[in-house]
């Protein structure tokens, strides 16, 4: 009996370390492109062509960053990205919970109809509506402004986010709302004073998703912005790439600078992004 127990324990030990080895290998693969990016960004021109490649170039050629910055106005693009993303965040945070409240805490005829109608729009490819949408913004004279990228987020922020917040609101007991109603509070008051303060976790979560959606958006800026001085990073980096893409060390210096805000965001948000999926019950 003792023998059997031992061998079983041994097998578990072997299995655990096998899993560990596989995971270390996979993790390495997943960060490899970024190590390669960082390493390249510090290489001297001639070091690019060495075989086998140098992993840790020395001395670090900071000059690549200086040279890149002369052609790649990183801070201007960064500022533009921040404006677009900030505007989207503001819009979603104002409108999304409001809509979710209407879908969760008010009992009205047609609520379920509209709710499922909203969910069904998730199945609609964005490309289908893009041409008339573009024409609307063109008629309004909004082309080459940030408005087409920001204003739509004041309209609820999309079915996915509204769904998330609505699911969260559904977990708040109706008694709480009813008690406030008995006290004579109107729905707007209940929303602002009772529900919103309780909703901080889910508001934080939708902020993260909104940030990613706006920051990573390439297609929107591509069709709406024409003036280079208005480009966000999403357009600035590909533009530099198409012009100077073969200066690989400078190119990777630009890519590194572009990825840094995402890394900072990730350090702040990773716990919530990875655990967040649990609170929201996306698997329904």
């Amino acid at each position: 009996m003792l023998e059997l127990f031992k061998s079983k324990e041994k097998r578990a030990f072997l299995f655990r370390n096998l899993v560990r080895l596989i995971l270390i290998f996979i993790t390495f693969i997943y960060i490899l492109p970024f190590i390669w990016m960082l390493s390249t960004s510090f290489k001297a021109d001639r070091e690019l062509y060495l075989f086998p490649p140098k992993w840790f170039p020395w001395p670090l050629v900071w000059e690549n960053y200086n040279k890149a910055l002369q052609r790649f106005p990183f801070f201007k693009y960064l500022r533009n990205s921040v404006i677009i993303t900030g505007g989207s965040l503001l819009g979603v945070l104002i409108s999304c919970p409001l809509v979710a409240y209407g879908f969760s805490k008010i009992r009205w005829k047609g609520r379920d109809f509209f709710f499922y109608l909203m969910l069904s729009t998730m199945m609609l490819p964005g490309a289908v509506t893009i041409i008339p949408t573009f024409m609307i913004f063109k008629t309004l004279g909004w082309i080459n402004t940030y408005l087409p990228l920001i204003v739509p987020s004041f309209l609820g922020g999309g079915a996915g986010l509204i769904f998330l917040v609505r699911q969260f609101f559904n977990t708040i007991p109706d008694d709480l709302v009813d008690a406030a109603r008995v006290d004579g509070a109107g729905d707007l008051q209940i929303y602002l004073r009772v529900i919103l303060p309780l909703a901080k976790p889910v508001l934080f979560l939708i902020s993260l998703f909104t940030f990613l959606g706006a920051w990573n958006n390439y297609f929107g800026p591509l069709i709406y912005l024409t003036d280079e001085s208005k480009y966000p990073l999403a357009l600035g980096l590909p533009t530099f790439f198409s012009l100077y893409g073969t200066y690989w060390n400078q190119m990777m210096a630009c890519a590194t600078m572009t990825v840094i805000p995402t890394i900072i965001f990730f350090v702040i948000a990773q716990r919530y992004l990875i655990e967040g999926i649990k609170i929201t019950g996306i698997k329904e």
Binding site: P33, K109, F114, T129, I131
Partner: protein
């Protein structure tokens, strides 16, 4: 409706009005407007002219649109199943009880939030045939790596690159796997079920709702693939990486053929709808809701 009901109805509508306005202006109207436009010859400036089905006829005879459709189906046929397998394998590994598991989870998840526009440029360098990382690595093993962005390879390379974003799918599967009651595995083990049998008869059916979600989202995403090919190759070489949405974009915003592009948008809508319906139509054969009556 009674008076109170009407009051509540109006209040409900008011609360959802931001979404409702967006829905009417940016969803309902564009769907019908692009349907109308698809029957016209219409550029950004000037009046539109009714031309009947000519755009749709062009669509099935235009060499490039056929190429773009076949490329896109190739992308979808690669991205959806490969992404499912990679995401599921990652999820299974990432729920194992190891002390440092959070480190692996975090690191593997990170690339999935890196913007595609940045990852595309890194990828072109990583897969550079002469001095990129991949072929240098292969050279060490005496293998002459392919031209990753050549006509023959480019679509496969893009499908491969998309797997760096599989962390998102892995998260969904991890949540689903962690919700499976332990007793199911314990009793199966007592009955002598092998690891593979436990996976196939417990894990796979128990996570099938997550698979349904993945299939729908991934299929819609794959049909609209744009960022990676547009930045990495611009559709080349010889249009071998040109996706349907890229061709739509070029027609609408580069050449100003809005009517033609609108007909492409409608075809995309129809293809997406058919594929989504196919997925939903088969759910009763393979999606299993634990605890629900069958």
């Amino acid at each position: 409706m009674t008076k109170i009901e009407r009051k509540e109805f109006i209040k409900g509508l008011l609360f959802i009005s931001p979404w409702l306005i967006g829905f009417l202006v940016f969803t309902v109207y564009p769907i019908f407007a692009s349907l109308y436009m698809s029957f016209t010859e219409y550029s950004v400036v000037g009046a539109s002219k009714w031309i009947g089905l000519a755009n749709y006829k062009k669509l099935i005879t235009d060499f490039l649109s056929l190429k773009a459709i076949s490329n896109t189906l190739y992308y979808a046929a690669g991205l959806v199943p490969v992404g499912l397998i990679v995401g599921l394998v990652l999820a299974i590994l990432l729920v194992q009880p190891l002390k440092e598991i959070l480190f692996y989870r975090t690191t593997i998840y990170f690339p999935s939030i890196v913007p595609a526009f940045a990852f595309a440029t890194i990828g072109v360098w990583f897969f550079n045939p002469y001095i990129g990382f991949m072929n240098n690595l292969l050279k060490i093993f005496g293998i002459q790596g392919p031209f990753w962005l050549s006509e023959q390879w480019v679509k496969r390379t893009i499908i491969l690159m998309a797997q760096w974003g599989a962390g998102g799918t892995a998260l969904i599967y991890m949540a689903a796997i962690r919700d499976i009651p332990r007793e199911l595995y314990e009793s199966a083990e007592l009955d002598g079920a092998s690891a593979w049998q436990r996976f196939w008869h417990i894990t796979v059916p128990m996570i099938s709702p997550a698979t349904l979600y993945y299939l729908v989202i991934a299929t819609l995403g794959a049909l609209q693939i744009f960022d990676l090919p547009n930045i990495m190759t611009g559709g080349g070489p010889a249009n071998s990486s040109l996706s349907f949405v890229m061709y739509l974009y070029q027609n609408a915003f580069r050449y100003g053929y809005m009517g033609y592009a609108a007909s492409m948008a409608w075809i995309l809508f129809v293809i997406s709808f058919i594929l989504t319906m196919l997925i939903f139509g088969t759910t009763r054969y393979w999606v299993f809701y634990y605890g629900a009556r069958r």
